[in-house]
Each structure stands twice: as structure tokens, then as C-alpha cells.
């Protein structure tokens, strides 16, 4: 109730360098709730909203999803330190990334190999009953 400097959503969005839609969305999913509402229902934010917003962006930048960020913030708002949770999360995410990178590298290698093979094949011979022997010729 004692909001010293109350920003409305437009000002927050502009100072944060984002869109009003995004701020509203963050409210809806619970990662950035307004300090209060005006009598007419307008969202009112304090200065800390900017820090919160930057945290959300920083967390997104390291690959966390908004649902996970909401959990971190919920822990913090319950007075707990989310550090343990965060460490688990980024450890797991790093491991998932490793797996994903290996998969993508394998896929890329297969594409390169298809590419080399395709260049050796004679296009004029490319006319069996199959669609394209570059792709399913190797099966």
C-alpha cells in the first residue's frame, strides 16, 4: 500500500525495454506480479520490479524457462533460498544440453555424409521408384 514510486505498466515496460504485453504475461504466469492495483485496476509496480524483470531475463538468457523461473521466485518469496534448486536446475540443464549437442552433431555428420554421397551420384540415374536415393538409398 505504501508504494513510494508507483510505475504503471507502460512506464515499466519502457524502462525495461520490453513490451506491455510481456509484462502482463509475466504477471499472469506469476514471475512478475505488480506491487498492487490502483482503484481503477491498473497494475502498479515499485522500483524493484525492474530488478525482477532483469532477473527473469538473465535466467532466460541461460536457458531457463519461465515455469522454472517462477519456481525459483516462488521459493524466494516464501523466504527460502533458491540456491540449491537453482544449482540442481542448471546442472540438469547442462547435462541435457550435452546430450542434445551430441545428437545434433551426429545429425550434422549424417547430413554431411549424405551431402558427399549426393555429389558423387549421377543425377540422371536418380530415377528409381523411390523418391530420392540420396535420402533413402542409404537405408
Amino acid at each position: 500500500m505504501v508504494v513510494v514510486t508507483a510505475m504503471r505498466i507502460g512506464e515499466l515496460a519502457e524502462r525495461a525495454g520490453t513490451s506491455v504485453k510481456t509484462i502482463r504475461y509475466y504477471d499472469r504466469i506469476g514471475v512478475l506480479r505488480p506491487a498492487e492495483r490502483s482503484e481503477s485496476g491498473y497494475r502498479l509496480y515499485g522500483e524493484d520490479a525492474l530488478d525482477r524483470y532483469r532477473f527473469v531475463r538473465a535466467a532466460q538468457a541461460v536457458g531457463l524457462r519461465l515455469g522454472e523461473i517462477r519456481e525459483i521466485i516462488a521459493l524466494r518469496d516464501q523466504g527460502e533460498t533458491p540456491c540449491g534448486f537453482v544449482v540442481d536446475l542448471i546442472g540438469r540443464r547442462a547435462a541435457e544440453l550435452d546430450t542434445r549437442i551430441v545428437e545434433l552433431a551426429a545429425l550434422r555428420d549424417e547430413l554431411r555424409s549424405l551431402d558427399r554421397r549426393a555429389r558423387r551420384l549421377d543425377p540422371r540415374r536418380c530415377h528409381p521408384r523411390l523418391v530420392c536415393h540420396v535420402i533413402d538409398g542409404g537405408a
Copy 2:
């Protein structure tokens, strides 16, 4: 019209090892159309449908999307050889993958670095006005 061995959708799905829904979907988006329809509207497929299906799966397996696969098939059905198109496609896809892999590796490295930093930080000191100094402390 002269369909020697006419399969209905259930049989094709079973022999292909997939679902009826998938075959119907492939028809709708144009990657696997039935040879004809029965009087009552049932989809009827020839033996070649199995080859087509396998081609679609092989193409998906190397990372092509159904929209792209449809283009390849359309070329083939227009009597052209899709080889050139396919070679371009897989070349571009491989390049995209390279970029993506580099991005993901950078992200993973950043996560690992956050992880190491988090383990050095004292959780009891984790209580500023920010949510989590593991994440936004480095900004």
C-alpha cells in the same frame, strides 16, 4: 484405378508400424496421398505407399520437416529430379546445425561456469534484494 493390392488405412498403418492418425495426417499435408478412394470414401493404398512412408521417415530422421519433404515429393511427382533441391536443403540444414551447436555449446559452458561459481558461494549469504545471485550476480 487399377489398384492391384488395395490396403485400407488400418492395414497400412499396422504394416508401417505407425498410427492411423499419422497416415491421415500425411494425407492431409500431402506427403502420402492414397492411390484412390473407395466408393464409400475409404482411403486405398498400393504397395508403394509403404516405400513412400519409409522415405518420409528416413527424411524426418535426417532432420527434414514434413513441409520440406512435401516439396521434395511434389518435385518427384511433377517428373523432376529433386536431387538438387535435396542437396541444397541438407547443405543448408547442416550449416544451421553447426550454428545451433555452437550456440548450445556456449550456453552449456555458461551453465557450467555458473555451476562452479554457485558451489563457491555461501548459501547463507544468498539473501540480497535480488532473487538469486547465482544467476544475476554475474550480470
